[in-house]
Point group: C2
């Protein structure tokens, strides 16, 4: 694996993902707008670029992981952006969770310079990023996928080629919307059960082993019962994902009543100041309305 890989965006996900590339022996160059995390990785063996353009000019494969669609578009297509600065033959790959149209615009600009582009959003959260067990959903050409696969393999476990550019984002956004709908089931079920006098820990255990179970319940129950709402993944970011999924459905003419309800309920929680809290905090507005708190006995 002699290709030099660049990583831009050393956030909660990008930092552990980059660290796993280093651990796998990948020659790595990094860049981040804020400096502290860069210094950590440099001390672990990464090269430091002074700008995104400098990184792009130095690397064979450029990976990026940023919060919002506008961040991704600016990084690739803006002044001194990655597409303009990339060296001939480079493979560009964004691993953020943004909409398929943003990916398609970047891919078109990259293609004008003869550069391959992949969208490769991930699932598995911070723990999956740290353990290199992320699921990675890749859109783009088969040749680009085959070239990137060894790099992805250092960061994730289940790596899927799901279609052309934008297909990775499509699958990821649908997963996020499905998870958010399941979150509604968790919120309503736990609050209703608590109000009805059922021990919520026992309720969660039974439902986990019954037809109402979901990964959303598995993730939420222990944290809600312990009243732990530290992110992790925030309601602000979940709304971004669900809103992108609902907008995609609107564009395709598919009604998503439950997805739209999840979006509205998340907006309600953000309006109550919970946007920076973990997604499990979605339960708090309903708890307050019902006059109960879902709490473990322990």
């Amino acid at each position: 694996m002699s290709e030099r890989v660049g990583f831009i965006g050393l956030g909660q996900m990008g930092l552990p993902m980059s660290r796993n590339l280093l651990k796998a022996g990948v020659p790595l160059t990094v860049f981040n707008r804020s400096r502290g995390k860069v210094d950590q990785l440099v001390s672990e063996g990464a090269a430091l670029a002074g700008s995104a353009a400098e990184l792009a000019a130095a690397c064979d494969v450029v990976l990026t992981c940023l919060p919002m669609p506008r961040d991704v578009e600016e990084l690739f297509l803006g002044t001194n952006g990655v597409v303009a600065a990339a060296k001939a033959g480079a493979l560009l790959c964004d691993m953020s969770t943004v909409d398929a149209d943003t990916h398609r615009r970047i891919a078109a600009a990259a293609a004008e310079r003869g550069l391959a582009y992949l969208d490769a959003p991930v699932s598995g959260g911070v723990s999956g990023a740290c353990d290199a067990t992320l699921a990675i959903m890749v859109g783009g050409s088969a040749a680009g996928f085959d070239r990137a696969k060894p790099v992805f393999a250092a960061m994730g476990k289940n790596i899927y080629h799901v279609g052309p550019v934008g297909a990775g984002a499509t699958v990821k956004l649908i997963n996020q919307m499905m998870g958010a709908i399941c979150n509604l089931s968790v919120v309503e079920g736990l609050v209703l059960g608590t109000k009805a006098g059922i021990d919520p820990a026992l309720l969660a255990e039974i439902v986990t082993n019954s037809s109402g179970g979901s990964r959303a319940l598995g993730g939420a129950a222990s944290n809600v019962l312990a009243r732990n709402f530290e992110p992790g993944f925030t309601l602000d970011l979940l709304q971004k994902d669900v809103s992108l999924a609902v907008a995609m459905a609107r564009g395709l003419g598919v009604r998503t009543l439950a997805g739209a309800l999840a979006e509205q309920i998340i907006m309600e929680a953000r309006g109550r100041g919970l946007g920076g809290r973990s997604t499990h905090a979605l339960i708090q507005p309903l708890e307050q309305a019902a006059g109960v708190e879902v709490r473990g006995k322990g």
Copy 2:
């Protein structure tokens, strides 16, 4: 285990549950309104009662499993009902999925005669009933639970005492509502993905391994992809359960927007003639509106 057990209601669930009692060596008397299934069990060793009252008069433990709340109420409290006919010291136990209030009314009438009553709905479907792997959620006194537990153990695997009479129904109905909400995530996700050009089998596989996964997805995906909508568990029965859960929430003053949406979407499907089909048929109205069919390639 020398207590004679009676089982009333040999439907899709009750028949295999009764059979597992026989297999475990429990002395069993059965009664059913229609005769065919009774004859099968008699040939396998069950005693036959000529009426529900005759069964109740002959048994130490009376189990019942019927479709609707009105069926349960009539059986226990109607003319020649089980409560009036039961012998002194009998334990009465309804395993149907009905509302907690119905159970409380029956329990009150039973208590006037000094009879113990349990509500013990089950989860796990026909396959769980056949394999004796049902989850059983029991409401009632600890003494009643302890007495019934060896009988339950012949029919299920995870047996929970969740609170006083009505608590079993409460947990079961919440589980059903949570599963129905997760069903909405499956319907919207699979239709949206198919419309967006993603292979729905691959989408289902990825989401199953990601944060959007649920037991509803696991149950639905293979059947939807194979276009198998034979019940199993029908949309008619699912609506009964979800409507009871939403009514319980209304009574407790807990808003369940997603639960109510699930109820409405199920009503829509029933209105289109799908009530007798499996719950997976919930996807068909949205498929028709979106102009796609979620089908496996195979």
